[in-house]
């Protein structure tokens, strides 16, 4: 089933987000300094109040809020960074392994992470930071779909026809057709406040399509979801 939005609409949304990203980049420097004042003084309050006190809890809540604001700024800015992306030949395999290592450290105890990663390098022309973000966003999304207990499976392989395939499957709640149709829409989220910015998957789509790749999803309510990304390989695959 194809839940993809009409191409012109997706293009328009991507352009809008890139404009927002460029605009945000202009104010990010100042905005992060303002956030620093909030974090700095909240830190001081944490240091000056006793553990378990109401005042300490208030100060810690200010810190949490500031961290959320900071994460949101980073997500929005990532849209503007497409233009600044430094593309070179990178080994997707290395990026995925590194991202999974990073992600494993953030994973709640009840969620298992399984992976099957190609043994030979998969060279693609891309920005490693953006690829890292693609993997992290897909895995974070999978973890949110699962909730407390389940499994995330990550597969990376080479496909006939010179493409690298990255599959991220979760045993989470799955999506109905209406949700699946909107999943790449910027600011669309089913997650509770503070858990999702609604930018993660639309950013993944923007990055992947910018690299000449494609993204598909297969989902079933109560069973789970698989996102499949295909990226063109840059050159001959090195076979060890």
């Amino acid at each position: 089933m194809d839940h993809a939005m009409a191409l012109p609409m997706r293009e328009r949304q991507r352009e809008n987000l890139e404009t927002l990203g460029r605009f945000s980049a202009g104010i990010a420097h100042d905005f992060n300094s303002i956030l620093y004042a909030i974090v700095g003084y909240a830190d001081l309050l944490v240091m000056r109040t006793s553990r378990g006190s109401t005042e300490r809890r208030y100060a810690e809540n200010v810190l949490t809020a500031a961290q959320r604001a900071s994460a949101l700024v980073e997500q929005i800015l990532a849209y503007g960074s497409n233009e600044r992306a430094k593309r070179c030949v990178v080994d997707l395999r290395e990026v995925v392994l590194e991202a999974l290592e990073h992600f494993r450290g953030k994973l709640p105890g009840g969620i298992a992470l399984e992976s099957s990663i190609a043994s030979a390098p998969l060279r693609v022309l891309a920005d490693a930071t953006q690829l890292h973000q693609v993997v992290m966003n897909l895995c974070t999304n999978a973890a949110h779909a699962i909730g407390e207990h389940g499994t995330i499976r990550v597969l990376l392989s080479a496909e006939e026809g010179g493409r690298a395939l990255l599959e991220v499957t979760d045993t989470g709640c799955g999506m109905d057709a209406a949700t699946a149709a909107r999943v790449f829409e910027p600011f669309f989220t089913t997650k509770g406040t503070g858990k999702g910015t609604g930018l993660g998957l639309s950013l993944v789509q923007a990055i992947v399509s910018d690299l000449g790749g494609s993204i598909d999803l297969a989902t079933k309510v109560g069973v789970g979801t698989t996102f499949t990304i295909a990226l063109p390989l840059a050159g001959p695959r090195l076979v060890n």
Partner: protein, 122 residues
Amino acid sequence: MARGLISVVDDDPLVRQTLPDVLRELGFAAEAFPSALEFLASGRVAETRCLLLDVVMPGMSGYALQHELQRLGQRIPIIYITGQTDRAVRPRLSEQGAVACLFKPFCATALSDALAAALRDS
């Protein structure tokens, strides 16, 4: 008991207000300057044990101040503090000889760790 002077150079008044307060809470003497030139003219360069330096500033940038200090033979450990979100700048700043690069908004623990490394190396 103050643990030596930490100087802050940042064009943003909010940072010049916040950072010295946090540094004093961590036990350091702190002074903030709105520009590289004001720091150079302050007479506090020689006693500065570590410099917390913004990267992007009008006039003389953080990089330019670092080079000027090198030219003057002042080997002050530098920790860059930046509002930029491009993580790729970190290795470039390290190549320039900075001890660390903190991305605003950073927490007091990250600051304290970076200062410990800077003062250990100096």
